[in-house]
């Protein structure tokens, strides 16, 4: 396979940003067994750090590093309103042919983790990719995404990218 960025810059994960501990995150929506169940129908607030926690450990398709380590995703690039999540990500190089796959992995991760009321929009950082419009359009076309996920080879690659992120849930 062609390697689009053979030598990426790797950054240390931010230590303070981790909100995995229960003290910091009593309302974590995937920790059902430990959360205080008061009202199952209550709309739980979800903030950008929580979204970041979901996607930071996704692996890059062509490196052993996480999207956080490569600074592909960061908390400030996520915005959350009541029913909408917007995730911006930064491909490591402007010709990155893996961008669609990275975006797809982020989308699948959020589809599987977030309550269905959220509409998720995913974009590459403006100016960060030479095919910005095409990548954005594809990632936000639900029919394209649905068809991609019925492609066994593509689904397999996405699942590999998500393995480490899912391991953090355990």
């Amino acid at each position: 396979m062609e390697v689009f960025n053979p030598n990426p810059v790797i950054f240390a994960p931010a230590k303070v940003a981790s909100r995995r501990s229960k003290e910091n995150k009593p309302e974590s929506f995937w920790d059902d067994e430990d959360a205080d169940v008061e009202d199952e129908n209550a709309v739980e607030p979800i903030d950008q750090d929580e979204i970041f926690d979901l996607i930071r450990h996704i692996s890059d398709p062509e490196h052993p590093n996480s999207l956080e380590e490569l600074r592909v995703v960061s908390a400030p690039q996520i915005s959350v309103s009541e029913n909408r999540v917007i995730v911006e990500f930064t491909p490591t190089v402007p010709h990155c042919g893996m961008s669609t796959l990275i975006g797809l992995s982020i989308r699948v991760r959020l589809m599987q983790s977030l309550p269905p009321r959220f509409k998720v929009d995913i974009f590459v950082k403006p100016g960060s990719h030479q095919s910005e419009h095409a990548v954005n359009k594809q990632l936000n076309d639900k029919e394209r995404v649905a068809a991609a996920l019925e492609n066994p080879a593509l689904l397999d690659t996405v699942e590999k990218c998500l393995e480490k992120a899912e391991a953090w849930d355990a």
């Binding site: 269905p116 394209r144 649905a146 019925e150």
Partner: protein, 356 residues
């Protein structure tokens, strides 16, 4: 204040995955739905005794044999054949054992009478022409195929139209002429006719939408074409010459992609009505517009004067928090105020537009 409201008739559950599309049989009380679960479900409907309420009962489930999502369904005008468009790149043609005589819940099984192969990637839409002699299909492979429907479930490909530069999302035939419209991810709509001495060809490209065109639907009188887009708008195109169509109106009201539109005759008391146009969106809303003839419609029927328009009914959260993928008016006489929708919640819902 909208004059009407959209009242729920029933919710039909049973699909195991996202419901993508629905189609009303034009001749019989049957509603078909299709899903990412690769099946087609058929529902029979009738009036409960001593009630005007419509009652829907599950008739049968066709486990299509498609290996991927069944994206779209369409009935032939006779109501005897059902076409399925699948992400497995094939179009299936389904007919009931026993043919025309079969009626009622105990009629024969639905069997695949033809499998139309040719598309290279996901097939996204399929449509029969008004005479039932032609079938069109389209795909992510950027092509539109026109098929001739021959006796004994035989199909001959009459043309492969390679006009679009990206996925083709939807095909729709004119209500009484052999004009085909296609909508695409390349943001355009193309119109095609047959050259009797040559092949099918594209005679018009309609540009105006700022993103993917998801769906196209002709007005019942055939003078207008409606289109819906990822740019959150619905556009109305008007025939200004025999082979020329112009954008005359942009309808706004949705907050996300408008995945589907359906233009039915409606049940209006306004003589100038051009029918009711329903739209369904990723924002969860279903909106019904009434379009009316412009004042110069008698003197200058092909002027670029836009039709009148008003929202007559609006429904939020038609499928709860989920996207609404498809909307379709029942085409049968007496049922012009009945709508069906399909949603990401795996359900199909039936609605009646009633005075507010």
């Amino acid at each position: 204040m909208p004059r009407f409201k959209i009242a729920e008739v029933t919710e039909l559950q049973g699909h195991d995955d996202r419901a993508w599309n629905i189609a009303w049989n034009p001749a019989k009380p049957l509603l078909a739905s299709c899903s990412a679960d690769k099946t087609v479900r058929l529902y029979h409907y009738d009036h409960a005794t001593d009630s005007s309420d419509l009652r829907f009962t599950h008739n049968t489930t066709i486990s299509t044999g498609h290996t991927k999502t069944v994206r779209a369904v369409a009935w032939s005008p006779s109501g005897l054949s059902l076409a399925t468009a699948s992400f497995d790149a094939n179009v299936g043609i389904w007919e009931q054992e026993g043919g025309e005589e079969s009626e009622g819940p105990n009629a024969g099984e639905w069997e695949c009478s033809s499998l139309l192969e040719g598309h290279e990637t996901e097939c996204k839409s399929v449509a029969y022409s008004s005479s039932g002699t032609l079938l069109a299909s389209c795909s992510r492979d950027k092509t539109v195929w026109v098929w001739e429907v021959q006796p004994d479930a035989d199909f001959e490909c009459l043309g492969v139209l390679m006009e679009h530069t990206q996925d083709v999302k939807c095909v729709a035939w004119h209500p009484h002429e052999e004009i085909l419209a296609s909508a695409s991810y390349d943001d355009t709509i193309r119109l095609y006719i047959d050259d009797p001495s040559d092949d099918w060809f594209c005679f018009a490209t309609l540009k105006g939408h700022e993103s993917t065109v998801w769906c196209v639907s002709w007005s019942p009188d055939g003078r207008y074409l409606a289109s819906s887009s990822d740019d959150k708008t619905v556009r109305i195109w008007k025939r200004v010459k025999e082979h020329s169509w112009e954008s005359v109106l942009v309808l706004t009201g949705h907050e996300r992609s408008v995945y589907s539109i359906s233009w039915g005759v409606g049940k209006s008391d306004d003589d100038a009505s051009l029918g009711w146009l329903a739209s369904a969106s990723g924002d969860g809303q279903v909106i019904v517009w009434e379009l009316t003839k412009p004042s110069d419609s008698d003197t200058a029927p092909m002027s670029p004067t836009p039709p009148g328009h008003s929202i007559i009914a609006r429904l939020e959260a038609a499928h709860g928090v989920y996207d609404v993928n498809a909307v379709a008016w029942c085409p049968r006489q007496g049922y012009e105020d009945i709508l069906a929708t399909a949603g990401d919640d795996c359900s199909v819902r039936v609605w009646k537009v009633v005075p507010a």
